[in-house]
Amino acid sequence: MISCDEAAVISNKSQYKEASLSEKFKLKLHILFCGTCAVFSKKNKQLTSLMAKAKLCVMSDLDKKVLKQTIEEQL
């Protein structure tokens, strides 16, 4: 049986489709016996769908650099 730390890593990797089949199986097995990880895993999945729903966008580092320069010049 894997540890809770290992279970968390697999749960996180699953959110980015980077967990292997055997890892996912180990996680499922762990969750059967560990309520804490079951809750974490479920919430983790929900966080992933919330992120997808929110469709966030970020400014590129370059754009931010330009903005910072603009502000500094005005200060």
Partner: protein
């Protein structure tokens, strides 16, 4: 993070932290409303410049972010006013030929609420998006950076490790901390568990 909390509590403007602290939040706010990333970027820049120019008007009752959002809102309305008045002038000119009593006041009436113009699915999720962004902005810098690269930009583990010179297990530790903090920061109402 502690520094920022102190700064927020006395509500003093700190323009040299604006970009790191608020640019993504303002950007998401604007993108949903103008539906164009380039225009949104310009509006953020105008907002920061206007903020600097009117810094003396900052009374300190609002937080910096609330204050900047108020400026951004005006910039967005101005943006739509410009678009509408270009279109509006043509319409008025056409109408002028038909009936002589049309006047310029109608232009103002034609300026629609930008929110209703950009109404779409994205706007329904605006509240969620801003709640998440607000929580992300409070993450320690390295967690915020790695989480954003991985989750918002969708970069591969390999690329992130290469760019930041960390190994995959470092990456997963950082991702774990970030996700755990976000779960705690986001209002429980967003979750069904």
């Amino acid at each position: 993070m502690i520094d920022r909390k102190i700064a927020m509590s006395v509500h003093k403007l700190q323009p040299n932290t604006w970009v790191d602290a608020y640019a993504d939040y303002l950007f998401n706010y604007a993108v949903v409303r103008v539906s164009d990333e380039e225009i949104a970027k310009d509006l953020i820049q105008e907002t920061f410049i206007a903020g600097l120019n009117s810094a003396k008007n900052f009374k300190g009752q609002a937080t910096e972010r609330t204050w900047l959002i108020a400026i951004l809102k005006r910039k967005i309305i101005d943006h739509y006013r410009k678009i509408n008045s270009k279109k509006g002038k043509a319409e008025v000119r056409l109408e002028y030929n038909a009936s002589s009593d049309s006047d310029g006041d109608r232009l103002e009436e034609q300026v629609a609420d930008p929110v209703s113009i950009a109404e779409n699915d994205a706007l329904e999720n605006q509240e969620l998006g801003l709640a998440i962004q607000s929580c992300m902005d409070q993450l320690p810098q390295n967690q915020r950076q790695v989480f954003t690269m991985k989750t918002v930009r969708g970069l591969s583990t390999e690329d992130i490790c290469k760019e930041l010179d960390i190994n995959p297990s470092n990456l997963w530790v950082i991702i774990h901390r970030a996700r755990k903090t976000l779960m705690g920061c986001l209002n429980q109402n967003w979750f069904t568990i």
